[in-house]
Structures are given as C-alpha cells and as structure tokens.
C-alpha cells in the first residue's frame, strides 16, 4: 500500500529556535497513527507544520503523491487535510451550528459528512445548535471542533490533544466516534499525552521528544519500558 501522507525529514523553526529536527512519518489509507510525547516535544509544531501554519525549513509533506510542503494554511483544507487544533479553538462569535458550517467553508463537492450526520454522531450538537460554541462544556466543545473539521470531508484528520482537560468518561465518548470517522474513509493522526488512550486507538504509535521521533511501532510491539524511556528521554538525557 502506498502511503496516503508521507512526511520526510521535516524541520521547522520559530524564528531561530528549531522545534522539529527531520521528522519522518507515514500514514497509510485507513490508518490511525498516534503521536505521543511530553510537553514541548514538538507535537503541535508537527501538526502546524503539516497544515502550513508553522514555518517549514526543510523536508517535505506529500499527500497522495502530491507535494504539499509549505502550501499556505488556507489551501491545506482543499487538499484534504483538516485539523482539530489544540485547545479546540472554537469561534466565540459563532453558534455551535455556525462553527460546524464554517468547517465546510472551502469544501468542494459532496462527501459523507454533512451537518445532519455530524449532529447524528454527536446529538448534543443538534440540541445546543443555537448556543455560542464557547458556552458548551469542554467535551462538547471538543465535539464541535471534531465536527467542524469533518465538515470538509478530509482525507486526513489531524487531532491535537483531544483528551486535554477532559474527564475519562468524556474522553471515552469522544474516541467512541473514531470508528465512524474511519468508516467514512478518513485517516487519522492523533496527538495524545494520554498514552494508554493512544495505544488503544492507534495502528501505529510514534513517540516524540525534543523535536525528534524517538520511538515508533505498533502498540502491541512497544513495551511500557521502551515508551517510558522514549517519553522521558532516559536514553537521550
């Protein structure tokens, strides 16, 4: 199977500060890949580099054989990549429904996901459709953020720390939507600090530290000790 998303030697900077050091990563069609790592490891930067928000200084991002490195952020969506940003980032001036609709702003053509289907996936979003997005609970806001990202019917969905600040039961509910998202033909990259959640949901796990991938493998292949070492940098200290 040829890779859907291929990231090779990706390097990114914030001014003079180098945040990514030659990251390689592959996402196959239908796969879910998890990226774990401690605070400041560069996970969010990797997501932002893929979506053209952070400055890529070397390396490449290829989607379905097409080079999309350094494509400006507004064009990424039409190329088929959509993001649930860290901290959800709902638009406070928009209602729940408008937050969902704006996800389809640049959408071309039809796909599985429509407003109705999102509202079926997360029924609370229908009930609260006229509330300001930011009036919802953290978990509900996360559902809006996921729904908003799905509205463009992406080939690749990037999720940055879905579980951040949420109760375990809410996290479970949110990840409960993943099978349906995968069934719709979307491949997923999740960034998680919750390691066991990452291991449960992913086909492949990468651990990042200080801007590098320090460990990769299938969840079943990785021992707790190896993950612990990669996460906390025992071998790199």
């Amino acid at each position: 199977m040829s890779a859907l998303l291929q990231i090779a030697g990706l390097t990114a900077h914030y001014g003079d500060f180098q945040a990514l050091f030659g990251v390689d990563l592959t996402l196959d069609q239908g796969q879910t890949v998890a990226i774990i790592g401690a605070n400041g490891a560069g996970k969010t930067t990797l997501m932002r580099a893929i979506t053209g928000v952070a400055k890529v200084t070397a390396g490449s991002v290829t989607l379905a054989g097409k080079d999309i490195t350094r494509i400006p952020a507004p064009d990424i969506l039409t190329h088929g990549i959509s993001m649930v940003p860290e901290g959800r980032k709902l638009f406070p001036s928009l209602t729940v429904e408008e937050n969902l609709l704006i996800g389809a702003h640049a959408r071309r053509g039809n796909g599985f996901w429509t407003l109705e289907r999102i509202q079926t996936l997360f029924p609370i979003l229908k009930e609260r459709r006229h509330s300001p997005g930011t009036a919802l609970s953290g978990g509900q806001q996360q559902m809006v953020a996921i729904g908003r990202a799905l509205m463009s019917n992406p080939q690749v969905l990037l999720c940055d720390e879905l579980s951040l600040g949420l109760a375990p039961v809410v996290i479970k509910e949110i990840y409960g939507a993943f099978p349906q998202i995968k069934d719709s033909g979307t491949s997923i990259i999740v960034v998680e600090q919750d390691i066991s959640q990452a291991l449960r949901v992913a086909d492949h796990v990468h651990c990042m530290m200080e801007g590098r991938i320090t460990l990769s493998g299938r969840p079943t292949e990785l021992s707790r000790d190896a993950i612990h070492d990669a996460y906390f940098g025992v071998n790199h200290a």
């Binding site: 979506t51 928000v53 400006p72 952020a73 507004p74 064009d75 990424i76 969506l77 039409t78 959509s82 993001m83 940003p85 980032k89 638009f91 406070p92 001036s93 928009l94 408008e98 609709l101 704006i102 996800g103 702003h105 640049a106 959408r107 908003r148 463009s152």
Partner: protein
C-alpha cells in the same frame, strides 16, 4: 410642537451620521483597523458621484449606482495593496498609514477639483417635505434616515445570515484558526473594506446632496463617525445607528437653544455617554 420637531430633525440627522459611521464600524469590527481616512474616502466618493453625474448627466441617485462598484474596487485594492501589509499586532502602523492616506486623498482632491465647494444637485426633491401633522419632515432627511436603517439592516443580515458574514466573524475572532477552515483573511478584509466603501458612497450621496462639500471636510465627518461608533459600542452595527442618533439629537437640541452650540452639543453628548458607559451603549460581549 417645536420640541417634537427638534427631536425629529435630530433623529433624522443621526441617520446621516450613522451612514458616515457604518463603514468605519464594519471595518473596525472585522479587522480592528481604525481607518483615519474614512472621512476623506466619503468625500472622495462624493467627488466620484459628482464626476459621474457631470460626465453622464445622470441624476446623483442614479450616478451612485455607477460610483458604488467603483468605490468597492477601490476599497478592495486599497486593502490588498496597502492596508493588509500593515495590519498586525501593532496598531500604530495602520494608524500612520491611514493618516497618510487621508492627507494624500485631501491633496489629490484639492489639485484635481480645487478648494471650491461643490454640491450634488438632486432637483426638486431637495426642497420637498412631508407634512405629518405634528411635524413636517424634509424628504431628503427622511430618505437619509431610511437609507441608514436599511444599510445597517443589510449589513447585519450579511453579518449574521450569510456564509461571508460567518467568515467575517470567524476571521475577526481568530484569523489563524480561520485559515484552517480554508478562509483567506486578507481576502475577507478586502471584501469588508470594499463593502465599507459602498456604504461610504451611499453616505457621500446624502452628504453631497444635503450640503456643500470641499476636499477639506473629511476629518470632521470622521470625527462624527468615530463618535457614533464609540457611543454605540465598538463592533455593534445597530449600536452605531444609535450612536449616530445620539449625536444628531444632541446637535439638534443644542442648536435649538443656541445655533452656535450645535456642533459642541454633539461632542458633549459623546463625552457624557462615555462617562456613563465607557464601553458604549451596546458593547460586544467578547471584546
């Protein structure tokens, strides 16, 4: 009866100030840009209507239909080629640039049209009035006010009922996240300034048919507009209409006491409102 008449005239005058202010309010609400050239852009639009009317012989109310799209294009180019380059976290560069633009427009108009004052002639409608029994209202002031309400209503519909309006609000909330939705903030801003210039053209039509204008009067119109926006609450379009009415009423009441007090009364009302409600009458919740 005289008092009711004063109130009616003041309120209608407020419509003109609301028209001056609506474009300013729109642009500020979307991109947090205080356009110091807004008053001069209105005067520029007045000269454009005058030119179209003179060249084609069309009535100003028809000439405005030609002038408005031209002003939209001008606003679009102004935003994409100049203002987008200076918008950022620092509010000083856009202030300086729009101040410079104000000077450029005034001097450009001066050398093209001289300092002579001009007027748009609308014919018999200028003197027409309607007798409502209690008060007699000029048709032009009524038209002005009606246009202001219509413009504010239309802008509100655009803002809250269309996909473009959604993009306006989302970009204003968070331009980086908006880009992840496929929105291009720079294009959104260009669209907003284009629309603001269409509103400025409508304002120019009434400004130019109701009174004389010359290249130097822009900054005073900016001041009224600015006060209306602030009284109403930054970013609130209906608030801007209310702000215009407050100034119009204050001026009319002041003038009825002593004609020399007209302008001053408006400014005093502005200060009073700010003393009582520092964020204006209808502040936006999330500012």
């Amino acid at each position: 009866m005289i008092f009711i008449d004063t109130l009616a005239q003041g309120m209608l005058l407020g419509g003109l100030y609301a028209l001056f202010a609506a474009g300013l309010s729109l642009v500020f609400g979307i991109m947090r840009l205080v356009n110091l050239a807004h008053g001069d852009l209105i005067i520029l639009a007045a000269y454009l209507i005058l030119t179209v009317a003179t060249v084609t012989g069309l009535h100003p109310f028809v000439a405005v239909i030609i002038a408005a799209p031209l002003m939209f294009g001008f606003g679009w180019l102004l935003q994409t080629h100049l203002l987008n380059r200076v918008l950022g976290n620092d509010i000083l560069p856009p202030l300086l640039v729009t101040f410079g633009l104000s000077v450029v427009i005034q001097n450009g108009l001066l050398s093209t049209f001289t300092a002579d004052s001009q007027k748009l002639t609308a014919g018999t409608i200028e003197a027409a009035s309607v007798d409502l029994g209690v008060v007699t209202l000029g048709v032009m002031p009524v038209l002005t006010f009606g246009s202001a309400v219509l413009v504010i209503f239309a802008l509100n519909q655009l803002f809250y009922r269309t996909a473009l309006g959604r993009a306006f609000r989302a970009t204003s909330d968070d331009a980086v996240t908006a880009q992840l939705m496929g929105i291009r903030p720079q294009q959104v801003f260009a669209m907003a300034t284009g629309i603001a210039m269409v509103v400025a053209t409508i304002a120019a039509l009434y400004l130019g048919t109701r009174a004389n204008f010359d290249p130097s009067i822009g900054p005073a119109r900016l001041l009224y507009a600015f006060e209306a926006v602030i009284i109403g609450g930054l970013g609130s379009l209906w608030g801007t209409l209310a702000g215009g009415i407050v100034i119009g009423l204050a001026q009319a009441i002041g003038a009825s006491i002593n004609p020399e007090w007209q302008i001053l009364s408006g400014h005093i009302a502005f200060v009073l409102v700010l003393l009582i409600r520092p964020r204006g009458l209808f502040p936006r919740a999330n500012d």
